[in-house]
Amino acid sequence: MQTSFTAEQLVDPQVAESEKILRRCVHCGFCTATCPTYVTLGNELDSPRGRIYLIKDMLENGRPADAEVVKHIDRCLSCLSCTTTCPSGVDYMHLVDHARVHIEKTYTRPPLDRFTRALLAAILPYPARFRAALRLAGLARPLAPVFARVKALSPFAAMLQLAPKALPSASPASSGLLAEPGLRRGRVALLEGCAQPVLDPGINAATRRLLARFGVAVVSPKGEGCCGALVHHMGREADALDFARRNVDAWMAEIEGEGIDAILITASGCGTTIKDYGHMLRLDPAYAQKAARVSALARDVTEYLATLDLPRLAARGLTVAYHSACSMQHGQKITLQPKALLKAAGFAVKDPAEGHLCCGSAGTYNILQPEISAQLKQRKVRNLEATQPDVVATGNIGCITQIRTGTEIPVLHTVELLDWAYGGPKPARLPA
């Protein structure tokens, strides 16, 4: 597509990159068809092609963001379904990242919106604060219907509805497991992260057990924490890069110390971001190389497990509907390994219809855009339930939390099922 940036504008490396991305788009419109918001709202402005055009117009004219552009960019889930569909290879992710940073720098949101975002950015990435907030949410849950009645307050209603009714204990019993002696096949760092250990510490516990059983030593380097995705998607670039640098430092200590084969991530939303650290920090001379090394070592847990050649197990008569998180299938293009692992472990695996569509979770999207998110959740649950599964498996805590609020069918992380199949405890959410 033709672009019209001045030489002066192109001096800015972000603008130069966006210009390259825009030049690839030929405006064919294929992306509209697989975009969850276009499918839901039917307006080109809420499609990737429409957003690309809005961003192009804003950047070319060097304009600050305005309410209209912000509305349509905010509605983007960043699910990246469009990048899977796009034949031209348009790097929509980095274009919309740039737009979000531009919005954050040039646009003043209404006070309540600002407050909500500041609150989320101040709580979610920090486990202790998040745990305390969830306890409060439990007390405030009766207020949810009141909030839901006022549109401006609907994010708060969504927060209360998403908060789990009971919180698991903070420290799972199985942390610190060592690899089975005499069988060491690898050494990996496992991202503890931020929200997941609060909402569902059982996921990483299962991962540690499973890896230990197959001879993989797991370390959790000191100082690592939130990957930065939550604030990154809000356009809070400086905060996101701080989180990224801190994690890079933590992992580099391991990489340059005893050495690690991989950095494992059990939340695919985080995985997409950590694999992008190399790009996010490319303009930081002190970190560019280190970040690229970290990104190159980052693996989703199922990517790594698939290399271990786990034994095939007999069928166990349990049907699993596999929900591929957007960050898994579109962000990281991981589509085969999780299902292959589940099948090898004896589960019957079903693919729901419209598997490419987002469940509406998308980081903080279900809080900031509760109406669209609810429609997508309903559609996702309908498609999942149509496969008549015993259990839904997925690889991202956001999807797990979102889908759990829409169905009675147990929703588990893929590794919880794998851990159980290979000798671990039966996940508590499965019926006895």
């Binding site: 672009t3 690839r24 788009c25 419109g29 307006n43 209209e68 796009c86």
Partner: protein, 479 residues
Amino acid sequence: MSETIAFLKPRADVLARRSTIIADLADLLPPEGLVHEPRELVPFETDAFVSYRRLPLAVALPTSTAEVAAVLRYCHRYGIPVVPRGAGTSLCGGAIPQEDAVVIGLSRLSRILEIDPFNRTATVQAGVTNLAISDAVSPEGFFYAPDPSSQLACTIGGNIGMNSGGAHCLKYGVTTNNLLGVTLVLVDGTVIELGGKHLDAAGYDLLGLVCGSEGQLGIVTEATVRILAKPEGARPVLFGFETSEEAGACVADVIGSGIIPVAIEFMDKPAIEICEAFAKAGYPLDVGALLIVEVEGSEAEMDAMLSLIVEIARRHGVRTVRECQSATEAALIWKGRKSAFGATGRIADYICMDGTVPLSQLSHVLKRTGEIVAGFGLRVANVFHAGDGNMHPLILFNANDPVEAAKAETAGNEILKLCVDAGGCLTGEHGVGIEKRDLMRHQYSEADLAQQMAVRAAFDPQWLMNPSKVFPLEGRPAA
């Protein structure tokens, strides 16, 4: 780029009443059904023929036939031009608006209304995508045959407007051969029904007239299409040749022998490389031209037809013949082919021609096309429906270089004239739109055009519907 194709001059009286018109439209549509903020109108300024761009006055996004009728009735009363838009995937600018026009976008008319396996029909709203029809009838064992490469995104309404084709139309015919009925809103808001669930209707075949009328005779809001039982089996086979001429001659010989496979698709070397980069379908990269021939039916039927085709291909020096080994592989082969245009964006900007030629002329036209484009110092990639003689030279250029862009447009015009002179036509399936409008005199005599315009004027005497398209601006009857 310097635009060589003119749009109609915007009606000053309409532009002057912009704010009144928007206020009135807001009364006719729900809030989310009207786009009018200047910045929000920008993404509607073009379609997939992105070289040309015009901002619309407003965009209406109705959700019912009644809303479409209300908007049309209003625009008709006040002499406001209207441009219909499906998914905006037109390659000839069929959905590009103009400054004084209200775009009526059909993307929110997206419901499947009825699937009737006993009568082999599906009735859908006009904004349903082509592929969504096949997906919806698939559990019953059916499919909708016309399959434009943009079938993932393009709408049935747009397909009807352009009488769209696709790879599998060699056997099953284009949109008009698979369309049974429509609900049509006329320019004054009157709603009429054409056809039904039967193969032919009593009286004039107005359905045939409306199909391919590029949004100038009315706006289709619902369509009943014929659905077909899925074949027992289908197998795409890759035939690699040393040269494009050999491949072209082979196609002519296959069809000339009375063999009609489901599809015969052609790709030259640049196109193979582009598609392979995106789809990783395993196309042979060591050949000069590739045919994708799809046969279908029982194993015995497929084998029998394939052996005949292989024999003909051998006579034309075929270098490799590869049958695909799995359903996954077959899907990738088609994914690559159907993404060819978009995938071209990886290496350059392009404009896509749509001329159709008699098969006896295929090799000659392919060779001349290469010479014409090379004469302008540009590159070309050919990927097209060879069995139909429906050619799609993609002329590659740099959109940020106005000189190259102008050369590409001129080269395209020369290729289309070449197709007409070879006994073919300007457009096989994409439509005339804005792109080929000024070449219509190369195809038709004044009397031919006058008769077509008389029909158009019978439906829309004020020339309000998609007015800048199809017919050259000079020589139109006074509105």
